[in-house]
């Protein structure tokens, strides 16, 4: 996980902030912690996503910041500037509306921006299968790490079958259209 302030160094200092019954977690590198005057004992300091975002736009000019702040979610009407204040998004569509601002934030929070977990069944069958293949690749990597080559071979066969099915599906879909 990378430092949420500079985004460069690994985060080794971690804070949990409970504010209005809302718990948020902050991960920063030691240098940034020191610069911001945060010590292990200073966990009470109000330091939330809002501050984190404020830090991120430091490099922007005033006008840039204003422009970004006026980006609005077409569905729920939430302004990006108000997300910056509260740290909460307004609706599912906000993720698309603010995607350019959110991506670096998600990277800072999670160290990654791609979902690798389960998928709702309502998602397209192709997407679900793709993710299942991705999961199997994770399993394969783990099996190889464990030197469980028998298991690895089984997983590899499974991946091949799924990939073949996926290709057949795609070909079928193209044939129909």
């Amino acid at each position: 996980m990378l430092c949420q302030i500079c985004g460069k160094n690994p985060a080794t200092v971690h804070f949990t902030e409970i504010h209005d019954n809302h718990m948020s977690e902050i991960h920063v590198c030691e240098r940034c912690a020191e610069e911001k005057g945060m010590h292990a004992s200073a966990q009470q300091h109000k330091f939330e996503i809002a501050d984190l975002l404020a830090g991120m736009v430091d490099s922007m000019t005033q006008t840039d910041e204003e422009r970004v702040g006026h980006v609005q979610c077409p569905r729920c009407g939430m302004l990006y500037s108000s997300f910056k204040e509260t740290g909460r998004l307004g609706c599912a569509e906000c993720y698309a509306a603010f995607q350019f601002q959110l991506r670096p934030l998600l990277r800072r929070i999670h160290g990654d921006t791609r979902h690798r977990g389960k998928t709702p069944t309502r998602g397209s069958a192709g997407a679900a299968r793709t993710r299942q293949i991705q999961r199997l690749h994770d399993d394969l990597r783990r099996a190889v790490e464990r030197e469980d080559f028998e298991k690895a071979a089984t997983i590899r066969d499974e991946i091949r079958t799924l990939e073949a099915e996926l290709q057949a599906e795609r070909a079928g879909a193209e044939g129909r259209s």
Partner: protein
């Protein structure tokens, strides 16, 4: 035969939560294991931004969908605005609802499954917060419960999801899997031997979060710590759970070694501390909730170290929850001023331990 859900708040209050039973793997050290999944409906703004009637719609559609699922059929639905404030606090003390849900001001609810380990908060920070809370150290079991219930709810509800970011949540810290896996662990030896800071630091370095239980901010009470995954994007649920599992196992071993060392070098001092704690609990006349938590920690250590004639773990777990203010006042049948609470609490603790002594037939 499948278990029955409590029919109302009274029945719920009377039946102990499964996580209090003191059962499950490593129950002497890990009190409970929790899996939480955050989900939202695609077509409704997130809870904090939704209008009252939209939230009523969410409460209705989610509870209907859940009650139509195998896991939650015949569950108990409590609408928070219909639950008395004291009872809402009881639910918080049982770890069934969060403080946020416990405020009762908006259309929120909790659905408790017949399998009492499973519950669903509706209109908390996210529209759905599915929770599996199991006794002891049982990450795989808790995950299977939550994952299964999520699979059942999924076809009936359109969850907010996109292929890149995964499940979309009100706070971007939960986006992706929406998973929070956590264990509640008792680490008295590491605290006593002053090795805890080093251990906590190493937990955080591998990307897990740790905080004290019951304390505000980082204050730790009763040597109880909650360890959980930190990130929800970029790793599968299984990956997150496995890394929590691996690290927790290492901590269990470290604590076990510390306990052995302590008992080898200072058995009499430890037993003395354990029995003094027991004696205080058994004969106190006025006691603060915090003192109960701290003394129970010493007794729990004694039980884990096989000090003979102490009470079972179940009794200690019960004391932890039942001596909290809302439980205490509900048992007492009326509201109590803090000073009176301490007196009633002391009476309850003495009585509970006396009953345990009678049950075991051992007089320590």
């Amino acid at each position: 035969m499948s278990p029955l859900a409590p029919r109302d708040m009274d029945e719920l209050f009377a039946s102990p939560s499964p996580w209090l039973l003191g059962e499950g793997p490593h129950a002497e050290m890990v009190l409970s294991t929790r899996i939480r999944l955050a989900r939202n409906l695609d077509d409704v703004p997130f809870t904090h931004r939704a209008r009252e009637e939209q939230l009523m719609g969410v409460l209705a559609s989610v509870s209907a969908a859940a009650q139509g699922s195998k896991s939650f059929a015949d569950g108990l639905l409590l609408r928070m605005n219909e639950v008395a404030p004291l009872d809402r606090q009881v639910l918080v003390e049982r770890h069934l609802v969060s403080h946020e849900l416990g405020d009762g001001a908006r259309p929120r609810g909790i659905l408790i499954a017949p399998d009492a380990r499973l519950s669903l908060m509706i209109n908390e920070e996210d529209h759905l917060r599915l929770q599996a809370l199991t006794p002891g150290f049982q990450l795989a079991e808790a995950w299977a419960l939550a994952d299964g219930a999520d699979d059942e709810l999924d076809p009936a509800l359109e969850f907010a999801f996109n292929d890149e970011i995964g499940y979309l949540t009100s706070c971007p810290t939960n986006a992706g899997t929406g998973l929070r896996a956590s264990v509640l662990i008792h680490l008295p030896a590491l605290v006593l031997l002053e090795e805890i800071q080093r251990v906590l630091k190493s937990i955080m370095q591998v990307g897990l979060n740790v905080r004290g239980l019951y304390g505000e901010h980082s204050e730790v009470m009763g040597n109880l710590f909650q360890i959980s995954n930190q990130t929800t994007l970029g790793r599968s649920e299984r990956d997150s759970i496995e890394s929590l599992e691996r690290v927790t196992r290492q901590i269990i071993e470290t604590e076990e070694r510390a306990r052995e060392r302590m008992m080898r070098d200072a058995r009499v001092q430890i037993e003395d501390k354990v029995w003094r704690a027991y004696g205080t609990l058994r004969y106190c006349r006025s006691i603060h909730a915090r003192e109960v938590i701290n003394l129970c920690s010493a007794v729990r250590l004694g039980v884990a170290m096989d000090v003979p004639a102490l009470c079972p773990l179940r009794v200690l777990n019960e004391l932890l929850v039942l001596t909290q203010p809302a439980h205490l006042q509900r048992m007492h049948g009326s509201e109590l001023a803090p000073a009176d609470r301490n007196i009633v609490r002391a009476g309850f603790v003495r009585e509970r331990l006396a009953a345990a002594e009678r049950e075991s037939g051992v007089n320590p």
